[in-house]
Each structure stands twice: as C-alpha cells, then as structure tokens.
Symmetry: C2
C-alpha cells in the first residue's frame, strides 16, 4: 500500500499515469534488489529514447548535417544528462535497491539513475505505446534542445529557410502580416510565410513581427523537410 502511494507520487512528477503500475515498479528495480530487475526495460527504453531524440533533432534542425545531429544527440542522451532529468523527479527516492547499494548511496549514483530513467521509458512504451513515450521525452528534453540551439550558434529559422531555398535555386520566401491584435503597446502579430515550392502557407503569432516570422519560417522548414527529406 505504502509502495502504491509512492508510485502514485512518482507518476504525478512524471506526468504519466500507468495502466499497469507493476511495470513502473519493475523499471525502478535495480539488479542489486531481489526479483526481476530493470535491465531488460532499460535495453528497450534506451533504444526508444535514442529514436525520439533523433527525431526531435531531425525536425528541430532541418539543415544540420548528420555529424552535428549525432553530436547533439550524444550530448542529450549521455548518462549525466539523463541523471539530471532523473533528479528532477527525485527518481532515486523511488528505487528498489539491494542492501549494499542502499548503504553506499546507490540512489545518488548517476549511472543507476540514468539506467532507471531509460527503464521508465521502456515501461511507458509497454504500458501505452510510442506516443505516450514521445509526450514524456519531449517534455523532458524540449528546453535542453532549445538551449542547444543557442549554445551551438545554430542559425535562426529565417536564415535556414533562405539557405535551404537558395541551395535549390528557388525564389526566397515571402512573409506577410496576416493579422494584428491588441493595443499598440501590447500587440500580437500573426505572420504568414509562403514559398513557391509548395502550395501551402504557414502562420505563427508572437508579440513582435520578427519572432512571428521566425516561427513561421521554422514551421515551413519542417513542412519542406517532411516533403523533401
């Protein structure tokens, strides 16, 4: 009963409610503890995490070469990053550890925390499938990916879109203010972006025109990426 309350409190932090709570308990069981441990779930979860982060990077950096994507992914899925995320949930407090690991503070060790986080991802996958995993991993990783964007001096989406079109000898994109709302000192701009290559526009709304243009360009890049690979 005690354990069920514990798990429910972890589920709240994870923002995911398990249909089958024993999967979560299994994901939290280190091999030092008796009974089935989390290593198989970790194996599965590791591959899911790698895929989800790869896809996030692929669409977030539509022009980055493969080498950059690999480097960025390595930074996001390395043990220290995962342990950091695990600590945000105080995952260590919920682990099933053997006596020895308990005494030596295994619940604080980065590798144990990272492995358990991967196992939790595997458990969510078995519990509810890929979409549920994506929702969780995206929440955990979104800010880190945005930070990478700045830290690595990635060009803004408008420049990226321009270069993408120029590389294919296509006309430049056209931005237009489609709508403004609010008072003069508190306005919201809705901007559209269109390119000659496809018969669709993208729109975005932001407190200033430049930000709205950047967002619309980002959406257009994603659309082009989807169509042209």
């Amino acid at each position: 009963m005690q354990r069920n309350n514990q798990l429910a409190s972890l589920e709240q932090k994870l923002n995911y409610k398990f249909l089958n709570t024993s999967l979560l308990d299994n994901a939290l069981t280190h091999r030092s503890h008796s009974g089935p441990n989390n290593e198989r779930l970790e194996f599965l979860g590791d591959s899911i995490l790698n895929f989800i982060v790869a896809e996030m990077l692929f669409s977030h950096f539509p022009l980055a070469p493969e080498g950059d994507l690999s480097r960025l992914r390595a930074a996001l899925v390395r043990g220290e990053t995962l342990a950091e995320i695990a600590r945000e949930f105080a995952l260590g407090d919920y682990l099933n550890l053997g006596e020895g690991e308990l005494k030596s503070g295994g619940f604080r060790r980065a590798s144990i925390l990272a492995d358990a986080l991967e196992a939790v991802i595997g458990a969510i996958y078995l519990d509810a499938g890929m979409d549920a995993c994506k929702a969780c991993v995206r929440r955990w990783m979104q800010n880190r990916i945005s930070d990478l964007s700045l830290a690595t001096g990635e060009k803004d989406a408008k420049s990226q879109l321009q270069e993408w079109l120029q590389a294919r000898k296509k006309p430049l994109p056209i931005y237009a203010v489609a709508d403004t709302q609010g008072d003069l000192h508190d306005q919201l701009f809705t901007v559209s972006c269109s390119v000659s290559l496809i018969n669709e526009i993208t729109t975005a709304t932001a407190p200033n025109r430049k930000s709205a243009e950047k967002e619309a360009a980002q959406l257009m890049l994603q659309k082009l990426e989807k169509t042209y690979g």
Copy 2:
C-alpha cells in the same frame, strides 16, 4: 521518367509503395552525388532500426538478460548484415553516386549499402510513420532472428515459460488439447495454455501437439512479458 520506373521497381522489391517518391530518391543519394544526400535520413533511420530490432528481440526472447539482447542486436544491425539485406534488393543498382564512387564500384561497398538501407528506413518513416517501418524491418529481419534463436541454443518457449513461473514461485502452466482436425495421418492440433497468474488463455494450432504447445507457450510468455515487464 526512367528514374521513376527504376524507383517503382525498387518499391516492388521493398514491398513498400511511397506516397512521396522523392523521399526514396533522397535516401538513395550518396554524399558523393550532387544535391541533398542521404546522411540525415540515415541518422534517423539508424535510430528507428535500432529501436525496432530491440523491440523484436525483447519480445522474441522474453527471458534473455539484457547482455544477450544487446549482443544479438549488435549482430543484427551491424553493417555487414544490413549490406546483406540491401543486396537482396539489389539496392546498389538504384543508388545515386558521384562519378568517382561509380568508377570505383561504390555500389558494391558494404558501408554505402548499409547506410542507404538505413536511409530508406528513415524515408519510410517520414513517408508513413512507424508502423510501416516495423512491417518492413520485421520482414527483413524475421528469419535472421529465428536463426539466432537456434544458433544461440535459446531454450524453447515451454522451458522458458516454466522457468519464468518457477522464478516467481507460481504454479506450472496447464496445456490442453482444445481441438483436433483432419484425418489421423494429417491432423491439426489446437492446444491451449493457461497459467494461474492471469485470467487469459492462449491457443495455437500445429501439425503436432508439441509444436502447438510451444507456440501457445510463446504467446503466453509474450502476454506475461507485456503485463509484468
């Protein structure tokens, strides 16, 4: 036009028809060729392949420890195995290669073939999502995974199920012949398998009782695995 016919013939071999054929063309474009190359798709496809194979192994070997799963996966996704699969489709004949690579026979090189196969998986994912990828990868890998099962002396599913239950101090499974069909020398046996742990039975049909029991045990293992992780 010529190229479109080529791609259509490859699609037949892949047993997958692209909605957006330019994704496939992109996946076949080596970096030695002008225009956008397949490296980003390869990055994405590699992570998808790893995940799908991990999941296949996870459910096909419900009792294998993580170390075995990792070892088996490494064997299945290594470049030489992927190049072998690529050669089954004569993928080399469809590559867009630069002059230099063409002359030096790049279309036969294992690494180029393996990378292109991963890129094709990435392209299928962008074209139609994960289920379409799974269907393809499973077709390509199924026999190889069954072979592994024998080569590695993996225990049969009945033994595995028995051990799984014993490890949890649960009663042994019960097998029963639910139906027989056909003449005495050409019979089909339908066998059910039930365990005390869950309120469900599994059934399988085969030309002899033992094979049907094994298959029913395998299905039960997968069910237990899904419930208990």
